[in-house]
Amino acid sequence: MSKYVIIGACAAGIGAVEAIREVDPTGEITVISEEQCSHYSRPMISDFVSGKADLAKMKTRDDQFWQKNSVNLLCSKKAVSLNLEGHEVVLGDGSKVSYEKLLLATGGKPFVPKTEGQEKEGLYTFTNIADAERLADKISSGNAKNAVVIGAGLIGISVTEALLKRGVKVTMVELQDKILSLLLDAKASDIMEAVVRKAGVNIATGQSVQKIVGKPGNDGVVGGVVLTKGDQIPCDMVIAAIGVIPRTELVVGTTVKINRGIVVDNQMQTNVPDVYASGDVAETYDFVLNQNRTLPLWPLAVLEGKIAGYNMAGKKTDYAGGTNMSSLKYFGVPIVSIGMANPKPDPTLEIIVKEDKAKGVYKKLVLKDGVIVGMTFLGDIERAGILFYLMKNKVNVKEFKAALLADDFGLAALPMSLRKTMSLEE
């Protein structure tokens, strides 16, 4: 019997271990990971492919992390089923691990749309280190000069940049009319698209890959794709970089409630007593939309794991929520985009925009009743965190909104009462 069992040793699992140990220094923790190498940074796999980072650099915690926290780490072990009534996790080798409190931190799996020819050799996903190693090996083999990346969102753009750095020619295929459409409005997307094109990337928007075709004389190997509009693009590999879907298979058929992801309350508890879920597999609170939804983002997964850990260890803690929030570093253009940065037309929303073409700067705020509900900072992001603070704390900015997008915006532009709240002098 382990007091705490955590399935998944990635962001949420690590957050949970750290939180549990803050509250309970000795309770037995078992962490089950199907991966060989634990606690590496998944967002860093693009740096791995480009050659900028090795596995040592990718470790998010020191090598003794598990030992220091007295964790019984089961690597390369897969949890295959749950016996919720008996408080047991069944592993692939038939062994059982029983728990008092269980955290499901199984994460997400890459979404690969059903496509004709997808069984051919040369289709890659881009979520974990194994994916990245396969992709890097393929490039190193010298048999990968051209790639088609499906999806021009966060993952698509990161893998595209990495491939480019390795000398691979890339075509991005995006179903939406704009790249990075979940993060950016049309204007910001256009700025970014121009930069990406200038770097030598082909971009096909408003289309999807209809069919993956084989190489002439070797049909089992990827030789190209056919797009919806009929264009044929020859390539040596296809990378599905659309996004992840919650890995709920372990709880399918159990009494744990699943919507798109596992349904949890503000303490990361599922509808089943003693069972918690966090990270990409869970539907957690979005403070902008005021509803729970899947938000597969690393920093949120760590926080959610922490909340779960505290509650599992008996320290009641509520999750303040996250939202769709990303910072981008790709193609030399720093971007921060948070919340409803690209809302549908809505008369109750006020939108303030500022653009400086010469400096390559674009800033946008979306306000509702004087409160920031969305923002994009492109090109100049150093003070974006102050705005995120105002957003998260639902500060009414009506009186000083004009200052928020100024070039010299900073803490001194905030009203004194607010600066006091931020306790700058303490």
Binding site: S41, L303, S326, S327, K329, V336, I386, F388, L411, A412
Partner: protein, 147 residues
């Protein structure tokens, strides 16, 4: 733990804190060389906030909850439990700017040339941080605060 705080009513907005911080974080530790010769040019980790007549300096507050460390994608940013300092390991930083996004004080700087971030380390190698020691009007102080 210790924190550097600014006394707004004493700050003249001279910006010497930035000059001394830049110099302290240079290779040469020499003002002229730091500003004119070093490449990449060292970065000041303190920022003078100015909205006349208001001015004060701000640098990493080494927050108790350290949103930057919690959000860090690589483990480069960590809250040191013993000293209370938020430390940044440049070698682990991948320049993803996630910490920049979540810092309530906008106190994290982007080192464009190095593709990493730079922030206040409280000059632990010195007895008194350089900005504090060289503020001509005593507008910066370092004091023990509750962790």
């Amino acid at each position: 733990m210790k924190r550097i705080t600014a006394k707004q009513e004493h700050c003249m907005g001279c910006g010497l804190c930035e000059v001394y911080c830049t110099t302290q974080h240079s290779k040469s530790k020499d003002i002229v060389k730091a500003y004119n010769r070093e490449k990449p040019r060292p970065i000041s980790r303190v920022r003078l906030e100015m909205n006349k007549p208001i001015s004060f300096a701000i640098q990493c507050r080494h927050c108790e909850d350290a949103p930057c460390a919690q959000a860090c994608l690589t483990g480069a940013m960590q809250k040191d439990k013993e000293t209370g300092l938020v430390t940044h390991n440049k070698d682990k930083c991948m320049g993803c700017w996630t910490c920049v996004m979540v810092c309530p004080y906008g106190a994290i700087k982007i080192d464009k040339e190095g593709h990493v971030i730079a922030k206040c380390d409280q000059c632990t190698e010195l007895e008194t941080p350089s900005c504090v020691a060289n503020c001509p009007n005593g507008a910066l102080e370092i004091k023990e605060v509750k962790a």
